[in-house]
């Protein structure tokens, strides 16, 4: 419990880890040292911190989280793809009972608590309090290695469920997609019942090997008092295709960071997101597309519908480094506000240091077209149905990016359950 003593003299007065013990996992010793140092010396971000300008996390710093396992009687409603295999974690602890027993031969799946010492992390820890928290107090994690040339036929689902009150799960996923491999991995984030003030603090390190095609579908459906902060740090090697589709359908305060470094030529990267918010939800998507080399494409499409007093934040950064010529980088963010009290902060940022590139970005925020709604009502549709049709027309394009049909059906079902929208 050395941390706690140190904490008292440090800058960080938050209570997040007062009740937690340092991770017992064998993480890289320098990483651990660094993480502890950051935790002790870095104050919680405030809205004066640029990266957290529109997302207040001060509330998090006042909660004393604990981490213990929990039991569930069924996880049926959290299975996103019936035909897939799955790994189920409750509060960050593996549930053997609900996880698949066997996986395809070309997969090497290891629990981080049972594996060898971890290699140094590719996550940035400096100044990153939540990455450091995740590192120093890692609950558990999983490493999925996909063999070269493997075509993984069944989707691999990692299902995270939070249960209890003021429970934290510090989880790490490591995905290593071998050369010319192909796979679809789903990360599902859920909260059981109305459990209050739970916190999912998740990091993923994703390595997409040469010529590999990897798709990650991220489905978030926690409850309105849940905190969720996650980071996907992605490294793409040459000729690879990486796609990540983030669907945020419920959650109290959600912050998604996706950072893609493209290290090799002829890569394609897709980042898509949908977020549908109501009540007082707050969802923040921060993405960084880092084109380091030439001849690559990236496509980014985020769309959101914000109702009631909810707030959405989108910050999309695209870097095109000096040697990265012939880059096509497209980014688009669209928002529809359904209420006068809903807010959106959308900030596209392009930093281009090469001179032969094609980049575009667009950001729109508006309301549903009143004229169109009147037109639909004049044909006999209720206002509600008219809204539903208009919302589905708006968001459909982004929802359609989830190509896994079972995952898509699961998402549609949640939309119906939570918003009464059927698409």
């Amino acid at each position: 419990m050395a941390v706690i003593e140190q904490k008292k003299t440090g800058l960080n007065s938050s209570t997040i880890w007062n009740q937690l013990s340092e991770t017992e996992l064998r993480i890289d010793s320098q990483d651990k040292e660094m993480a502890l140092r950051v935790l002790n010396n870095t104050p919680m971000p405030t809205t004066r911190t640029e990266a957290w300008k529109y997302t207040r996390v001060s509330k998090l710093g006042k909660i004393e989280f604990s981490n213990q396992g929990a039991q569930l009687t069924s996880i049926d409603k959290y299975i996103i793809d019936e035909s897939g295999t799955r790994l189920v974690f409750i509060n960050g602890h593996l549930s053997e009972e609900f996880s698949s027993e066997e996986f395809q031969d070309e997969l090497n799946i290891t629990l981080l608590s049972q594996g060898e010492e971890l290699a140094p992390s590719i996550l940035n820890l400096d100044d990153e309090i939540f990455h450091s928290l995740n590192t120093a107090f890692l609950t558990d994690g999983v490493q999925i290695e996909i063999a070269d040339n493997a075509n993984v036929e069944r989707t691999i689902q990692i299902i995270h469920i939070l249960k209890g009150e003021s429970v934290i799960s510090n989880f790490k996923t490591i995905i290593k997609a071998g050369k010319s491999s192909q796979a679809n991995i789903i990360q599902g984030f859920f909260a059981e019942g109305e459990g209050k003030s739970n916190f999912c603090n998740s990091t993923s390190e994703i390595f997409v090997g040469e010529n590999a095609a990897l798709t990650v579908d991220k489905v978030q459906y926690e409850n309105e008092s849940t905190f969720h902060i996650s980071t996907e740090q992605v490294q793409q090697e040459k000729n690879s295709v990486f796609t990540i589709n983030t669907s945020t359908l419920n959650g109290g305060l959600v912050r998604n960071n996706i950072n893609i470094d493209v290290n090799g030529e002829n890569c394609v990267s897709h980042m898509n997101g949908v977020y549908l918010l109501k009540n007082k939800q707050h969802v923040d998507n921060h993405t960084v597309m880092n084109h380091k080399v030439a001849h690559c494409d990236s496509h980014e499409l985020y769309k959101g519908v914000i109702d009631d007093k909810a707030t959405a934040v989108f910050n999309g950064k695209v870097y095109v480094r000096p040697d990265a010529q012939k880059i096509n980088a497209f980014q688009s963010n669209g928002n529809v506000l359904l209420s006068d009290d809903a807010s959106v902060y959308s900030k596209p940022e392009l930093e281009i240091y090469a001179d032969d590139v094609k980049c575009s970005h667009g950001s729109t925020t508006g309301q549903l077209d009143e004229e169109a709604i009147f037109y639909l009502q004049a044909r006999g549709l209720s206002k509600k149905s008219a809204h539903k049709l208009m919302v589905s027309a708006f968001i459909g394009e982004a929802l359609d990016m989830t190509k896994n049909e079972n995952a898509r059906a699961f998402i549609d079902n949640l939309l119906l359950e939570r918003f009464g929208w059927d698409f």
Binding site: A372, Y375, R379, G380, L381, S382, M390
Partner: protein, 250 residues
């Protein structure tokens, strides 16, 4: 069918309708003509329930109920249809999907079961043929990328699908070439029965060669100032509106 008594309406403190009277019986076609700014489109909007207008007086009885007391969708479900002068484009919303939703909500309102997919598609085929609307257009996004003529034909297609009691065609002829005009008129005439009625709002006599009205009304300065048979339309075409203004001045 509909009885409008002393209807007065304004928008942004500007009085547009100033005591309008009109009665339409089942089986009748009424044409409303008049110069620009007379209040023709306002009348259509007010009857359809557009909220931008404030009703300051008068009443509208639609099949025995107070029309002004109903919201837009209730009016539509009770059988009032407005063919828009400027049909709006709605990207991403398919014509077919929205019509099916509309028909089912109207049926629900009338306590009927939803229409089956098979019956619905048969209806789409039949009615789109009536206005010579390509079935591909029928399933595209509402009016998106449609030509002016296609938009107007789509209005009549929707009218055919919804089978209204009272259809109000607001300047449906504007921007139509003669072929499109004929197709639109043919659609309207085919749908005509002794149980429904049509109000045709138009600038020009031209449309009335194809849709022959029982009555022609002149709307001027927010009121119906003259009513006659179909020959009145020809007279207006020939002499313009000035003689009516003079008649009124005297």
């Amino acid at each position: 069918m509909i009885k409008i008594t002393d209807l007065q309406a304004k928008i942004d403190d500007k009085e547009i309708l100033k005591g309008l009277n009109l009665e339409v019986k089942p089986g009748e076609i009424h044409a409303i003509m008049g110069p620009n700014g007379a209040g023709k489109s306002t009348l259509a909007s007010v009857l359809a329930g557009r909220e931008d207008y404030e009703i300051t007086g008068g009443s509208v009885d639609f099949q025995g109920t107070d029309l002004l007391d109903m919201n837009t969708e209730e009016r539509a479900r009770e059988g009032l249809f407005l063919a828009f002068q400027y049909p709006v484009e709605i990207p991403g919303v398919s014509n077919i999907n929205f019509l099916r939703t509309a028909i089912n909500e109207i049926r629900e309102h009338k306590k009927k079961d939803p229409i089956s997919a098979k019956d619905f598609m048969a209806m789409v085929r039949e009615k789109s043929a009536l206005v010579e609307l390509d079935s591909k257009l029928a399933s595209r996004s509402v009016n998106e990328g449609f030509s002016g003529g296609e938009k107007k034909r789509n209005e009549i297609f929707q009218m055919a699908m919804l089978e209204p009691k009272l259809a109000i065609l607001d300047e449906t002829d504007s921007g139509l070439d003669i072929d499109a005009l004929r197709i639109v008129a043919n659609g309207v005439n085919t749908l005509k029965s002794d149980k429904n009625a049509t109000i045709v709002i138009t600038h020009y006599q031209r449309l009335l060669d194809y849709i022959v009205p029982d009555f022609v009304h002149v709307l001027y300065d927010g009121k119906i100032v003259k009513t006659g048979g179909k020959e009145l339309a020809l007279e207006l075409e020939e002499k313009g509106y000035d003689w009516i203004k003079e008649e009124l001045a005297n």
